[in-house]
């Protein structure tokens, strides 16, 4: 039996760090997409390629928050209908079009659960709980996971969205900022503060 001796200990950021690979959309691609959006603004039928491109992404976003395929399909239809209806007001501000769709989707999901007076769904892979534990420097174990779930359940909706997008959907801060409309640094600071609160709660 033996242990492996790591003779040079540079840690690969992309094995554990959350910042290693971010989903980014190039400025060139956003410009190209803006042309498609402009075409759809003058002819709604030209919205089809945007619908085809983003349907699955938006559907998955909603499904994580509803855990129901049929409900996700209904809300997804509403999201795209609203997107088409509001498209004439949309203008390109250097933010991916997908972020605008996610924002509509987030509002639609929240509105649905408000109307139904039910708690909305929070989908988590068990391994992702470990990611949060790592981030607040706690040793990952069964007891901690249970306590962490209880602590998460106490978060306000806005705080939960940040934790959800960052840790359970592995979005970059840039993407979170685009979706929520806050600045990237504000998204970072807020996330850090929520983690601190979670840490404090776990230590009591």
């Amino acid at each position: 039996m033996f242990s492996i001796l790591l003779t040079s200990s540079r840690i690969l950021a992309n094995t554990t760090g959350m910042d290693a690979q971010k989903k980014t959309v190039s400025a060139e691609r956003m410009q190209e997409e803006w042309l498609e959006i402009q075409a759809a603004q003058s002819d709604p039928a030209m919205f089809r390629p945007l619908y085809v491109r983003y349907y699955e992404m938006v559907f998955r976003f909603i499904y994580r928050r509803t855990a129901s395929e049929e409900l996700s399909a209904d809300i997804c239809s509403q999201v795209f209908l609203k997107a088409m209806q509001r498209l004439s007001d949309y203008s390109f501000k250097g933010v991916p079009f997908s972020a605008w769709l996610f924002r509509i989707a987030s509002n639609e999901v929240a509105q649905h659960f408000r109307q139904q007076q039910k708690n909305r769904v929070l989908s988590i892979e068990e391994t992702q709980i470990g990611d949060v534990a790592d981030e607040i420097d706690e040793d990952d174990n069964e007891a901690l996971r249970a306590a962490l779930l209880l602590a998460l359940d106490d978060l306000k909706e806005g705080d939960m969205e940040l934790i959800e997008m960052r840790f359970f959907e592995q979005r970059s801060f840039k993407e979170i900022a685009d979706i929520t409309g806050m600045t990237e640094s504000n998204a970072k600071v807020k996330t850090y503060r929520i983690l601190e609160r979670l840490k404090k709660r776990l230590s009591t």
């Binding site: 242990s3 690969l12 709604p44 998955r60 209908l81 088409m84 769904v121 359940d153 959907e169 970059s172």
Partner: protein
């Protein structure tokens, strides 16, 4: 159930197909238009009533004017296709099927298709749409498309716009590859490439150089093809083209004699080379990449296995006595905690001279890494000095060898050229005596096209053919003389392996090949094929020609039925 959230651990994954089953843009558009009408009924719109009325009146006048002049509702081809999905299978039931492979991303894999084509997928090649490398099993989906019927059924457009100039892509074959994990589409990780070896066929003639082809990818965002690189083709086998029937016995004999002659001289040249074996080239030592993690391996440990033959292990142990092992940048992702774990066994397996798979094993788990032997500091400097000396010696031995072989090799090549010329003259004479047309045999060459796919999607080996300048005005009608509602139609020429889609209306301007037999067809509302076969095209100036499309009587039960209908 929490008090504020319904926390769902490990939610059931949804496949892409499930999600896509809910997509319905036409219904969405209908809802949008319905809602738009409702809005128009609101009182505040009354202010605009005069303007709307005026616009409607102008529109009505325009329509009356058009009807008076016998014009159909104008619809540009580009606007028509822009409203349709870019890849739009016309008979989705018979879309060419994908074959699926399961692959462990930590290991990569080599996959062979029934055509003989191969995919070599490296380890750690995929990431999800959040940019994270994925681990575990992924599904690789793959299909090949070879002829115009495949292209038609796939719905992949073969039109190519190059800086505003229109072409058709004449293809020798294309592949489509995508990968999924838990129903989620994956992307290629940056820097990773799938090696594709596409086996396909090209029509050529004996001794003719292979035509020039390029590799293009389908850019679904920009709705066009994107040039990637020149196609690298290698001929695997040549046989007489099945299309040749008259005098084919003589031509077949000609081809076989040439192949036998070539084989004989190849064997003589190989024997000549074997008389003076090539010296073994020294391997250049490699220095550790800056900042890349390294580990030490003890070949003497009883729990260390080398998966190669003993001689290879001994040679490696000697060669690498001063080496340490660098974790390759190509290695699958790993958790640094792996280096805090006690491993019970270790296996090292060569992939090539530079890359080795290292498997660390204990009761609970296995970890696979790709590692490279590297040298550091003085050991590297010493190895480089030794390498340079060995390289000089190697080059000197190669020069001597070449001086020994050159004259004999050139003699053999000259003899081969002479015998080939005699053979060709003899067969040309035989064809003349038989009253056959002159020319070397037409061949069907089995070729392999190699390229590296750095993204998933459609990769096409093809060459652009310009769209003809001279267009015909065509009116498409059914057997009863009724015009079809505007719809997608297709044509394919016999000698070029492509399919062109266009908008068939009452008045379609279309450039058709004038000297090539071709098919024009469309899919009717009840999913049947209406077509016309033409042996050539007569240009009649600006006059509109009526093309009668006959609905094929044969039922379309499978791909073979469609092929039977779409024969030239």
């Amino acid at each position: 159930m929490g008090k504020n959230y319904h926390i769902k651990l490990n939610p059931d994954p949804l496949s892409r197909e499930r999600i896509e089953s809910h997509m319905d843009f036409d219904e969405l558009l209908r809802q949008y238009q319905e809602a738009d009408k409702q809005q128009v009924k609101r009182p505040r719109v009354i202010k605009l009533a005069y303007v709307a009325l005026a616009a409607a009146a102008a529109l009505a006048l325009l329509m009356v004017f058009n009807i008076w002049n016998g014009a159909s509702s104008p619809q540009s081809e580009s606007a028509y296709f822009a409203k349709l999905p870019f890849v739009n299978p016309p008979l989705s039931e018979w879309e060419p099927a994908f074959i699926s492979y399961k692959m462990n991303v930590n290991q990569g894999g080599v996959y062979e298709y029934e055509s003989g084509s191969r995919l070599v997928v490296p380890a750690a090649a995929f990431m999800n749409d959040r940019g994270r490398l994925v681990e575990g099993d992924v599904a690789i989906h793959y299909r090949e498309l070879h002829d115009f019927v495949d292209f038609f059924l796939s719905g992949i457009p073969m039109n190519y716009d190059s800086a505003g100039r229109q072409f058709y892509l004449e293809s020798i074959g294309m592949v489509e590859i995508y990968a999924e994990q838990n129903g989620e589409r994956l992307q290629m990780a940056p820097g990773k490439e799938i090696q594709v070896e596409l086996v396909t066929h090209i029509r050529t003639t004996l001794d003719a150089p292979l035509p020039h082809y390029s590799v293009y990818t389908l850019d679904t965002l920009n709705r066009n093809w994107a040039y990637r690189e020149e196609a690298r083709l290698e001929v695997l086998e040549e046989k007489l083209d099945a299309g040749q029937t008259a005098y084919s016995d003589i031509q077949k004999e000609w081809l076989e004699s040439r192949q036998a002659l070539e084989k004989s001289y190849d064997a003589q040249l190989a024997a000549l080379e074997a008389m003076a074996p090539k010296p073994i080239a020294p391997v250049k030592p490699q220095r550790q990449l800056s900042g890349q993690p390294t580990i030490e391996l003890n070949f003497q440990d009883e729990n260390f296995d080398f998966e190669g033959d003993n001689d290879e292990e001994i040679a490696l142990t000697r060669k690498l006595k001063d080496a340490i092992w660098q974790i390759s940048p190509q290695s699958p992702p790993y958790d640094e905690n792996a280096f805090k774990v006690t491993w019970e066994r270790m296996r090292l397996k060569p992939i090539n001279e530079w890359d080795y798979t290292l498997t660390l094993i204990n009761d609970n788990r296995q970890l696979q890494l790709i590692v490279n032997p590297v040298l550091v500091g003085e050991a590297y400097e010493q190895a480089m000095s030794q390498y340079e000396a060995n390289l000089a010696e190697y080059e000197s031995q190669m020069d001597y060898r070449e001086s020994q072989l050159k004259a004999r090799r050139e003699t053999l090549l000259q003899q081969e050229a002479d015998e080939t010329r005699f053979l060709d003259e003899a067969f040309t004479e035989r064809l003349t005596e038989a009253g056959a047309p002159q020319g070397k045999p037409a061949l069907l060459a089995k070729v392999i096209s190699r390229f590296k796919a750095h993204q998933l999607g459609v990769w096409n080996c093809d060459r652009p053919l310009p769209v003809g300048e001279e267009k015909l005005n065509l009116k498409f009608v059914d057997e009863n003389g009724e015009t079809f509602t505007p719809r997608t139609a297709y044509f394919a020429g016999k000698t070029h392996n492509t399919v062109h889609r266009f908008l068939a209306t009452e008045k379609t301007a279309l450039a058709l090949p004038s000297d090539d037999a071709h098919l024009i067809w469309l899919v009717t509302d009840d999913n049947r094929i209406a077509l016309v076969r033409q042996s050539n095209t007569e240009h009649k100036g600006r006059k509109t020609q009526t093309v009668v499309m006959k609905v094929a009587a044969e039922p379309l039960r499978n791909e073979e039925d469609i092929r039977a209908v779409l024969r030239f």
